[in-house]
Symmetry: C2
Subunit: 312 residues, 2 copies
Amino acid sequence: MQLQFLGTGAGMPSKERNTSALALKLLEERGTIWLFDCGEATQHRILHTTIRPRKIEKVFITHLHGDHIFGLPGLLSSRSFLGGEETLTLYGPKGLKEWVESTFLLSNTHITYPMEFIEVQDGIVFEDEQMIVTAKGLEHVIPCFGYRIEQKPLPGELLIDKARALNVPKGPLLGKLKNGLDVTLDDGKVVFSKDVTSPPRKGFTVTILGDTKYCENALVLSQDADIVVHEATFDHATTHLAANYGHSTNIEAATIAKEAGAKSLILNHISARFLPTDIQRLLEDAKNVFNNTFIAKDYSHYFWKDERLTEE
Amino acid sequence: MQLQFLGTGAGMPSKERNTSALALKLLEERGTIWLFDCGEATQHRILHTTIRPRKIEKVFITHLHGDHIFGLPGLLSSRSFLGGEETLTLYGPKGLKEWVESTFLLSNTHITYPMEFIEVQDGIVFEDEQMIVTAKGLEHVIPCFGYRIEQKPLPGELLIDKARALNVPKGPLLGKLKNGLDVTLDDGKVVFSKDVTSPPRKGFTVTILGDTKYCENALVLSQDADIVVHEATFDHATTHLAANYGHSTNIEAATIAKEAGAKSLILNHISARFLPTDIQRLLEDAKNVFNNTFIAKDYSHYFWKDERLTEE
Ligand SMILES: [Zn+2]
Ligand SMILES: [Zn+2]
């Protein structure tokens, strides 16, 4: 699993930071990419990465502010131009479907793949044998969601040498043992699955929050997460403004990560007000509250491996 | 008058060419900029120019395909963020107003300046003491317009030395002479305006065409124009495709410029299919038909001065 930030700014694009978009790359896990928000020119950012639009399987929209959605019609239409044929599922607040559909009608855009819209409310918005995604409302100036993406535990692997040592023959019994079933051999001896498989491995949990002031649901969604992506539109000196505008400070983001018992934190949605020297300060101040903090830049690429977050 | 191309591609953005947008810079003439089309990420291109969004006075949309309008909501909202207060007037086909308004409603976008929409039909769409803009329908797969922008003749300048030599006193008589009126002096002598002013200068004419196949109205709009901006989505080898898709070839664009008696031609809306070597060929082949041809790149900056078009 990898995370690549395509837009880490707030409100308006600047030369350095585009409006919001974040790719959760699940290429090893399921051969696809999930996109979180899609500000204008997200597809232009993608041109400078290895991401292929047809690999995008799902788009999760946190809220309907322009800096989080104005890139959607263009990306969806280019995905079609570029030969995307698989269904694309879009998750977002009420109104998203009507807007995309009326925009396509107006612009005479015809896409080649099926599109499915899920209107998000608090609760599980997606689940299959591998993943589960939970949404909860945050506290912004308009309805806004955070998403918690959990990979289910990975089955243990069959330890073939151990199985052979216990005289399990090649064939279907090995499959049963791998799938957690105990088996009886021809000689009447029972072989226990746990003795010939490695223990199941914990899956990852990533929490990706939309714009929000410091709030309870941010904490709930972040509980014990491996990675929390939290906005930090303001700094500590402007805490009073943050709450008024429905945004958070770097310190509030770090406090959420700490209280939630998260493993790592990435600060995102950084205002163009901050100069490069401010960025270092924002990071240092957050680290004083929660040490394992990173601050995202456009194109930042993070790897989750061996229970550790590293930046490329 | 200057022209700066912000997006010169066709259909979809590439690394080199963005979707359509062209700035007609009238900074010396009226202190403002007129924008023609606004593909996604036009505001991102603008970030890398000296153009200030609040200086944009008018936006002319040729047609409602996504590659010509998807940058509009973002640019309009940034113009507000950046302190734009003057009225912005948008010209375009039916449906533009409803789309912008519903997009703003959905995204909770509130702009600080008045916005005015003019639904374009064949004929004069704007006129004041300085400029006149005429639109005509072209032949594309959906309704699409071309615009002819004419600067009215510039009044001659008062030749003060000549007026003084004829004993015209300082004061209001000079103003009358400048404005084309003949005057009688106290001694009964008549002074003719034409004798103390330089002749009126011809204004410029720029024709900016939207997507179109080779058509009569492209010719009419381009008649005797100083500059024609014409699409060239296809090349001569694919002439049969061009007409089917409602587009033109480089040769057809050059033929329009030649038949119209235009002074210069800029090829625009260049497909990403063409490699850099093809571009040179597209240009050379067009020049064989109409010699004073240019081919636009993103950020290309053209100057109209002393009746001549030059590229910066
Ligand atoms: Zn935002
Ligand atoms: Zn086009």
